[in-house]
Chain length 433, copies 2
């Protein structure tokens, strides 16, 4: 295994040993902050009482609301003057969540990010174009510092300005990019407009993340650009990008367990799920000195992938995100995520841009109806053909979500325009789920 | 003198000694690049032949066109793989100018920037909000790295989103900002809207630059915010911000002469101007290893301020920029910059937003006519009052530009809307200047 740093090659027992030591240090450090000092006291938790990873369940959780309540700086575990960077969630309404970093924290974050990039084959000889917006959003500076640390020639292109992006990609023989999947698909249409085939460029690797997208979208992206696209998982509460990352196997994202303690719990009870089962990801920083965050409820649903990764890294892999706990729909006792439905629809060539998920109550029974936009060329007069398509979509959805939905085919532009997955769900049941 | 680093406190002889050594090294380094190797050979210049600063005049200039011609990387003096950052001028049309940096170059740039910030009283305990756009524009990452290097808590706010800027300024007790002057004035109107007086905030220091603005605008900004505003000079060809900076005397910008060799030449002949005279600033990087740039014609007009700065720093000061060589107008044999006219007009409360400079030829004599928008409340019926105002404006302009212009007073919104200083000039002379 060709590694960026030694921690990457640790065995499971070595990881476990490292984790308990670092967890104890992180708890002690967290207890220095006004927020955790009070929280630990309130629930009668003694950070010194944690001696093995089996004790983790006794440590109180931290929620998004806790972060808001500790605004602007009640979670700082070191003096304010030690902090050199701040990132905050966007939005002018409501209380933002704020994460502080010391210089040492930033260095470590950059190293973790550099490790991810090295893992997917990027080297200091590569030219890397970061197409993320910079600023308070962690995708910009987070990836940027990692790329510079690795020693790539880093082009801070920022977001937007597609013609300039293409000029940079072309003129500077860019080999690696960080890009949002939907933007990558859009950018391809600009490439087509100007008559350049991105497969003719030396571009080799894309880091993708920041928005949910399907395996099918990845496949399309890889084919259109002639590259490998690697999934990234990160959240600003755990720094940002660099938390978990795919290796070249492209089969699950290795969580850097020397830097983070990852658990998967039942979102309702907070109890650990059985090995390999779906649940909410809970994360603890194991190395952040300025602002440790303990057992953070990410609201992201995923599971640990079983078995050993062929790449040889023992850091456990998490599955693609199944969605946010908060987006989860319960239909006939089954948990369904809108993203599962999107994934099925996106993989079918007959399906257009839009769809809508309608939840209905028929007497005492909840039903799910999926309204699907069909591409013009498939919206034929022949009712039999349409009926067959309708059945095929319903069958594929049932395979994925384990409930048979009603499927309704609609013409292009006949669904209301929405933004984001969640707003595509219309709940017409009296009391909601 | 309280210094960030020792180079700041060098005496004149020490600076001169350092400069000649570093200049020789920079020339030798530059000669490693394809561009300079050819250029030096073409003009028969031997970099080894430079033994004292008196030899500088024999070194060939570098122009913006040379940078374009060497696109994308003919000025690299080290292997491409040593580069870790690239900045480029914006614009999708025409060839951009591109500057590359090694890790060592970035570290030095950050140190120079940290030195500027320390000089105006910022310390590691300060909270610094960078309101510059990030990305390829050097004002974002350039200032950001300096602020982090100094150890300030750095808030990468980026450009725009005024309500969030104000929330960050307020909630995080920001003491230092980097802001564009016109945006600072606009932001004040948002402060007024939400009923917050920025003078009540702990804000103390603003770094301003990136666009030409007048001494009067600085005064207004300082008063409105209750802060000190310090002028910054930088250009991407010389890294970006951190080239020259005002000390707390606010009287000229110290050029960091350990890092840059600065000359002022006649833009027409390229010969040095007499000490203290106005001319084009020419700059040479003395420490950049990845891409040295030698005797760069900045097109910026300024002069060295005479005498010793009371702050004790021996690094020479340049005056506020008088404009770009290319904007210079020649009327009756006198050099006039549109910015001089703007400066006079902006200082008069009767003058509104717009003005226009019209160049005319009357027989064999060039004339300058300035059309000035007057604020509604001053645009009175009384012709005598208007006549007096007209004369006052003409007299003040003559004091500044040494030529008596014709002044025409016009009502609000009666001038064509334009962008930028240069487009406010209308040349009606047959053959131009
Ligand atoms: Zn693997
Ligand atoms: Zn001074």
């Amino acid at each position: 295994m060709d590694c960026y740093d030694a921690a990457e090659a640790l065995s499971r027992p070595e990881i476990a040993q490292l984790q308990i030591g670092r967890l104890r240090r992180s708890l002690a450090q967290a207890a220095q902050s006004p927020f955790y000092a009070r929280r630990f006291a309130e629930v009668g938790f003694d950070p010194e009482s944690v001696h093995s990873l089996d004790d983790v369940g006794r440590i109180p959780f931290t929620t998004k609301q806790d972060l808001r309540d500790s605004y602007p700086d009640a979670m700082l575990a070191l003096p304010h003057s030690e902090m050199v960077r701040m990132h905050a969630s966007s939005g002018t309404t409501g209380t933002p969540t704020v994460i502080y970093h010391t210089q040492k924290d930033l260095d470590w974050w950059a190293s973790l990010m550099a490790r991810c990039m090295y893992m997917v084959g990027l080297r200091r000889t590569d030219v890397f174009q970061n197409m993320s917006g910079y600023g308070l959003f962690t995708g910009g500076l987070g990836i940027h510092y990692g790329a510079e640390k690795l020693g790539c020639l880093t082009i801070p292109a920022g977001a937007g300005n597609s013609h300039r992006q293409i000029k940079l990609l072309t003129d500077f023989k860019v080999t690696g990019i960080h890009i949002i999947p939907s933007y990558a698909l859009y950018l391809h249409s600009i490439f087509a407009e100007i008559g350049v085939d991105p497969r003719d460029l030396p571009l080799r690797v894309a880091l993708v993340g920041a928005e949910p997208y399907t395996e099918e979208a990845r496949g399309r992206l890889q084919e259109l650009y002639g590259i490998k696209a690697y999934n990234s998982y990160g959240l600003s509460e755990m720094n940002g990008p660099g938390v978990a990352f795919e290796c070249q196997e492209q089969n699950g994202m290795h969580v850097w367990e020397d830097a983070y303690l990852a658990e998967i719990v039942d979102p309702a009870t907070g109890e650990p799920v059985a090995e390999g089962e779906l649940g909410e990801l809970v994360m603890t920083t194991l190395g952040r000195e300025g602002m440790p965050v303990i057992r953070y409820r990410t609201r992201d649903m995923t599971r640990f992938l079983p078995g050993q990764c062929p790449c040889g890294r023992a850091h456990r892999r998490i599955d693609r995100l199944h969605g946010r706990c908060d987006d989860m729909l319960i239909i006939k006792g089954v948990n369904i995520f809108p993203m599962q439905i999107e994934r099925v629809l996106m993989a079918m060539p007959e399906v257009g841009q839009d769809y809508q998920i309608v939840l209905e109550r028929d007497g005492y029974i909840d039903n799910i109806r999926v309204r699907v936009e069909i591409r013009d060329e498939f919206f034929v007069e022949d009712m039999r053909q349409l009926g067959a398509l309708q059945k095929r979509i319903a069958a594929r959805l049932r395979d994925e979500i384990l409930v048979t939905p009603k499927v309704e085919l609609v013409e292009r532009n006949s669904l209301p325009k929405t933004e984001g997955k969640a707003s595509r769900v219309v709940d017409k049941r009296e009391s909601g789920a």
